[in-house]
Subunit: 112 residues, 2 copies
């Protein structure tokens, strides 16, 4: 008998979704690839879907999350701002702390 408590978290801002797993995965992929096209591809999303997702994050955030880069090899790309990077880190930290918290709650189930 192997019990596990799973969770999914998301952050709302003024009662609207601001950051969830999907958006954070997109930001992480942008950070890794420096390109929205490549980020979308790595997640199996259409460019349009990824663009709208990123636009929603930028529109709801207090500060810019990404900035467009121009020129260089292969033309312009997109990269995270310092604030964007801190959003990923904060979300992942809270998510992991939540998992640990729920692991510590497992004893309650074993007593049943």
């Amino acid at each position: 008998m192997c019990y596990k408590i799973k969770s999914r978290i998301w952050i709302e801002l003024n009662n609207k979704v601001f950051l969830g797993e999907g958006r954070v995965h997109l930001l992480m992929a942008i950070k890794d690839t420096g390109s929205l096209t490549k980020a979308a591809k790595s997640l199996g999303l259409s460019y349009k879907k990824a663009w709208h997702l990123l636009d929603a994050v930028n529109k709801s955030a207090q500060k810019p999350v990404t900035i467009n880069t121009v020129g260089g090899k292969g033309g312009g790309g997109v990269k995270l701002t310092e604030y964007g990077t801190s959003l990923i880190e904060t979300f992942n930290t809270i998510n992991q702390r939540c998992w640990h918290f729920l692991d510590s709650e497992l004893e309650k189930i074993k007593k049943l």
Copy 2:
């Protein structure tokens, strides 16, 4: 700016969903109504869907979660076992403790 961290939890047993919000709501409705028909109706589920949901819970649980009652006014019904009641309580307790935990994590977001 009003941030809130939301969560959804579910309990897995041997890598399969055992209890989630939907199943717990069904058990609570059965406890309240003493009838699977009434419980399904109160949740806007078809009887068939509710029956399969309850069957899945009973099949994955270590002990019976509900028992069928026979006779009485309006014919037979269904009621929770003591174990079934303890499942609801445990799930709701863990869920609420998770919400409180996430509220306590809000400071991390405000610092951004």
